[in-house]
Amino acid sequence: MPIIFKDVKYVYGAKTPFEYDALNGIDLTFEGHKLTAIVGKTGSGKSTLVQHINALLRPTSGEVLIDDFVNGPKNKIKAKEIKELRKKVGLVFQFPEYQLFQETVEKDVSFAPKNFGVPREEAIEKAHEALQRVGLDESFYSRSPFELSGGEKRKVAIAGILAAHPDVLILDEPTAGLDPAASKETMDLFKQIHSEGTDVFLVTHDMNLVARYADRVIVIDDGRIAFDGDPKALFNEDLEQYSLDNPDIYRFAKALTKRGLKLPTRDLRTVEDLAKAIKEAKHE
C-alpha cells in the first residue's frame, strides 16, 4: 500500500510551556514491498512518525497519504473513514500486553475484528487463526489473559492485531523485554507475515534486529530524516552521530576491514553470513 509523507511537521503541546517539534519536515515515500526499519534514539520522533500512518496523530502541517486516505492538519475525516484506515493499518505498541482487557483470550483477540465490523462468528474464527499463528493452541481460548505468563500475554496481544488482517503492520519495539528465544520467534513470525504480502514497519533501536530483518532503514534524528536507504549502507556510516550502535556483526566486520582484511561487500544478516565472509576473505 503506498504511503507518502509530504513535508510533515508535528508539534507536541503546542502553545504550552512544554511545546516542542517532534517531527520537522518529513518527506517520505513507501512503495513496493520492503520490510522497513525506522530507527533513532529514544525521543527522536520515530514513534510519532508511525502514529501518523494510522491517524492516531494528525500532522500540525503537511500531510500523509495512506492509499486513498488523506491525513492532513485540518481536513474533516469521518469516524468511519478512520476505522477503515485502522483496519488496514495495524499497530503493535511497545509492551502491547498492557492493552489486554477481556475475560478470555478468545474475546480479546476477536475484539479488533469485531470493532472493524467483522461478524461475530467470523471474528472468532479469525481470532483462532491468529492465535495459531503466534503459537497458542485451543487450550488458551477460554483462559483469562491475566493469568498467562509475560511471553504468552505478548503473543495474545500480537494475535489481537493480526486477527484484523491488516495490510500494513507497524511494530513499535516488538521484542522489548522478551528473552532472546522469544524475540527471535516473534521476529521470525513478522518476517513470515511480511513475505506473505503485508507491509511491515519495524520501529526499534535494536540495530541487530535491523541488520537481521530490514530491507530499508530510515534514521530519524531530532524529528528529521537523517538517513534513508539500504541497511548495509547505513552500517558503513558513523552511527555514533545518531546516537545509535552498530550491529555486532557489522562492528566486527568493520574492525576487520580497518585492519586490512578485505571482506566481500554483501548483506550480513547473521553470524553465519559473517563467518562465511571471513572464510572467503581468508582464502583470497
Binding site: P180, H205, L256, R259, A275, I278
Partner: protein
Amino acid sequence: MALIEINNLNFAYDEERPTLKNISLSIEAGKYVALIGHNGSGKSTLAKIIAGLFKKVEGDIKIFDLPLQKENLVKIRSQLGIVFQNPDNQFVASSVKEDIAFGLENRAIPHDEMDPIINEVAEEVGMEKFLDAAPENLSGGQKQRVAIAGTLAMKPRLLLLDEATSMLDPRGKKEILNLIRKMRKDNPELTIVSITHDVEEAALADEVIVLNDGEIVLHGTPEEVFAHRDILAQVRLDAPFFDSLVVALKAEGVAVPDDIKDIKALEDYLCR
C-alpha cells in the same frame, strides 16, 4: 566467605508447578555473578527470595551468614540493595535527590549526613547534574542509575539487579553496564548478583549461573558456561556474539585456537 549460601531451596507459587526446584548455590563475597535464564525460568523469583519478599520458602538460606528469617530481615536488608526491572515502579519520590534520600530516611540517618551521601552516590552513578530532576523528565537508564545510587547510599555488601536492564534502550543498557564496571573498580568488595537474559552482560561477569525451569543447569565462569552451546540452545538462550561467531567460524572450517578468549583476540588472530 560465602555471602549467599543456599541449600535445597524449593519454592512454588502454586503447588502443582514448582517455580524453583532443589536450588543449591553459594556466592562468594566480591564476586560479580550473572544469573541467566529465559523468561519464566525462575530467576526473578530467586532474586525476590534472597530479598526476603516471600514467606513460605522451603530450604536453607543464609545471607551474610544470617539465616533468612523474619527476625534477621531488617539486618539483612540493611546490607542488601536491590534494583528491579521497571524504572518507574521503584522511583518513590518526586526528585532524584529525594529518591536517593528515601532509603536514608528509612534508616533514620540524621538529616545533616544525608546531603554528603547523596552527592557522593549521585556522582558515582553520574547523576550529580540531575539532583532536582523529576522522574518523568529522566530516561529509563537514568532512573535505573538513580535506583542504583539509592542502594549505594546504604553502603550495601550485596547489590541485586533483577533484570535491571531489560526494559532499557541500548543507550540505557550501556549506561548500566558501564556503571557496573565502574562500581567493580571503585568498590571491589561489593558483591553483585545480576539477574538477566542478556548474555552479553553475563559475559562480563565472574561467574554465570544458568537457570531453566527452576533448576540450575550450568554454573561456572562465562567461558565454561558459554562453551556449552548445546545446553544453552536447549534452555532457549543465545550464546554471546563472540562465542556464536567462533562456533560459526569453526563450522565454516576456519580454525580458531582455543586460547582465543575474547573478541579483540579473535580480531587480532584473524588479521594476523
